[in-house]
């Protein structure tokens, strides 16, 4: 597995048109760590994620994946960089007209030279990793929301990505499924050595899986706290962060 899977965000400013969402963001996601991007609703967490995975271009600043600048690369180079990242979207974002197997097959066909039998074996393996063995020929509409999320994770892992991004992985899941997904994320990080970036405001998940984190603030439009979530809970003096982490009103 590659060890060049760290992320560097340098002086990043994000905006919709001239409307600045967050500015001067500087942080590093180290190889093999589970990094949490947290903050209240509407602070720009998901927008930051869209920047990190190349869906939005920075208003200012740099995003470096494994030391390579995402937006100073050519389109082909950028596609190659992005193909090293797997993304689990909030709703799974499975292609509804395709079976689960076909969903996972698309990136494998696009980026590898595996033959049909090998692709089929990889699909079965990925689905078994997320507890969906035997569901190859099911359409997304035929399985539950939690299963869709896990199938989305299997697709995100299709190419053994160096970096896995999760957008609100616990959203819409019951506490037990949410806990199982957290466990799965940690197991995958430990066994695959992937770097994991999670956008969430679910406190249980934040404390359960986070090695490191940043806290985005809506009003000051920048990072107001950083560090391990547990440490922030214990030591952070910022009232806004304390309120968030302790659910004080």
């Amino acid at each position: 597995m590659s060890t060049k899977n760290h992320l560097d965000i340098q002086n990043l400013t994000m905006a919709y048109g001239d409307n600045i969402i967050q500015e001067n963001l500087d942080f590093r996601v180290a190889h093999g760590e589970i990094f949490i991007i947290m903050g209240g609703s509407g602070c720009g967490k998901s927008t930051l994620l869209r920047h990190l995975i190349g869906l939005m271009q920075p208003y200012k600043g740099k995003i470096l994946i494994g030391g390579v600048d995402l937006w100073e690369s050519s389109q082909d180079e950028r596609n190659q960089l992005i193909s090293r990242c797997g993304v689990l979207y909030q709703g799974g974002a499975l292609w509804s007209s395709m079976t689960l197997a076909e969903n996972i097959e698309v990136p494998l066909k696009e980026y590898t030279n595996l033959n049909a039998k090998q692709i089929s074996e990889v699909i079965s393996y990925k689905l078994s990793l997320v507890g969906l063995a035997g569901f190859e020929d099911y359409y997304p509409s035929e399985i539950s929301g939690g299963m869709q999320k896990r199938a989305g994770l299997a697709r995100a892992m299709a190419l053994d990505p160096d970096i896995l991004f999760f957008d609100e992985p616990s959203a819409g899941l019951d506490p037990i499924s949410s806990r199982l997904l957290d466990d799965l994320i940690m197991q995958l990080r430990d066994s695959l050595g992937s770097t994991v970036v999670i956008v969430t405001h679910e406190l249980a998940s934040i404390f359960a899986v986070g090695d490191n984190s940043i806290f985005l603030d809506t009003e000051s439009k920048t990072i107001i706290a950083r560090g391990a979530p547990i440490e922030l809970l214990k030591n952070c003096q910022d009232a806004r962060v304390r309120k968030f982490l302790t659910r004080e009103s």
Partner: protein, 378 residues
């Protein structure tokens, strides 16, 4: 002791034990060896009961190695060979544990082979039967909603009705103008070539006038509206199904038929006759232009001939047809939308089905009305 060298691995066999040495890179980009040669070698080794691993020289690896190992473990299990996982790197052991932690549920996997022909025919028949049931239920509910409307009890927003009227009326004028004028010109052009041979050019007004007023005006308007508005109705309502918006209406005790279908049905019911009259006018005008340019028939002559050939009843027949077609387009579009499944592709199917259903029913209805008019002497 014997050793068997294969691509990227080496099998070392001694007495009842075999050791698999894995070396080099095992990833998608460098290619993954086939399992079959190794499985064949293991099968030929007599007395081999234990398999151990040596991964000391393993380089870069990914899921390719995992699928190979999963296949190998399954093969060993079939051959009653005990596998000692201790030699596996910790990460690989964890992944194998994870992959086998939730065993496949019995009956989950679907048969790979397609269905037999008889089963398919049966399924299509059952589906058609269900469709008919759904259609009858939809028509019944729509009829009930119309009754509620007549009694002033139907619940929908008047702004929705105005919005639908705008969409089905003024917004459709441009395309109706273009298509109707062209159809009138084509009819006149085809007729001009034939009638000129008999010196009967003046009857071009009869051909265009009757053709447009009785048939083509209503028919072309209906086909345009089926493709434009009927498909849009199916897509709009279908998307609402996908987003559970219809369910939200039902749980609030609001009939989706009244709230969504009625405004659309009313909009097309009111707009189609007007669009048809407009299409008739544009088609006849198109015919007049071709007559003037090709046959030297002045607009006045054309008008006079038209007056003698086409009576008000012919226009009325066209308008009645257009009203019926409008109801068909709205009903088909809304019905297919309400029938839509819960995925993006289903919305596409709903829109396509709405157009196909509308056009088929329009042609059937046209034939029926024409026959009825014939019988009644109109």
């Amino acid at each position: 002791m014997s050793t068997i060298n294969l691509d990227k691995y080496q099998l070392e066999v001694s007495d009842s034990c075999a050791t698999l040495h894995i070396y080099g890179d095992w990833n998608f980009s460098t290619g993954i060896p086939q399992l079959e040669p190794l499985a064949a070698q293991l099968a030929t080794v007599t007395g081999c009961r234990d398999l151990t691993f040596n991964f000391e020289k393993l380089g870069d690896w990914d899921s390719g190695l995992m699928t190979f190992l999963i296949g190998l473990l399954a093969n060993c299990s079939e051959q009653n060979i005990t596998v000692d996982p201790k030699g596996l790197p910790e990460g690989i052991q964890q992944l194998l544990k994870l992959a086998t932690s939730v065993p496949e549920r019995e009956g989950t996997r679907r048969p790979v082979l397609g269905q037999p022909v008889l089963a398919r025919i049966g399924n299509v028949t059952v589906e058609m039967h269900r469709n008919w049931g759904d259609l009858l239920a939809f028509l019944g509910e729509t009829f009930y909603a119309v009754l509620n409307l007549l009694r002033g009890r139907a619940r929908f927003r008047s702004s929705d009705l105005m919005y639908q009227i705008e969409g089905a009326g003024p917004m459709a004028l441009a395309i109706i103008t273009l298509i109707s004028t062209l159809v009138g010109m084509i009819l006149a052009f085809v007729g001009a070539v034939q009638l000129r041979m008999f010196g009967a050019q003046i009857f071009i007004a009869n051909l265009v006038g009757l053709g447009i007023a009785r048939e083509m005006g209503a028919m072309m308007t209906a086909i345009i509206m089926a493709g434009r508005t009927g498909a849009a109705y199916a897509a709009q309502i279908g998307t609402m199904q996908v987003n559970e918006e219809i369910d939200a209406l039902k749980t609030m005790g609001i009939s989706p038929i009244e709230f969504l279908v009625l405004p659309r049905l009313l909009a097309l019911f009111l707009m189609m006759p007007l669009l048809c009259v407009y299409a008739d006018f544009m088609g006849i005008l198109g015919g007049a232009v071709v007559s003037a340019l090709m046959l030297d028939i002045s607009f006045f002559e054309y008008y006079q001939q038209l007056q003698s050939a086409v009576a008000l009843k012919h226009f009325l027949i066209g308008v009645i047809k257009a009203t019926i077609f409008g109801l068909i387009v709205a009903t088909s579009g809304c019905f297919r939308g309400m029938q839509c499944g819960r995925s993006a592709s289903e919305v596409g199917f709903a829109a396509t089905n709405a157009v196909v259903t509308s056009i088929v029913l329009i042609v059937v209805a046209d034939a029926l009305v024409t026959i009825i008019c014939q019988i009644l002497g109109y």
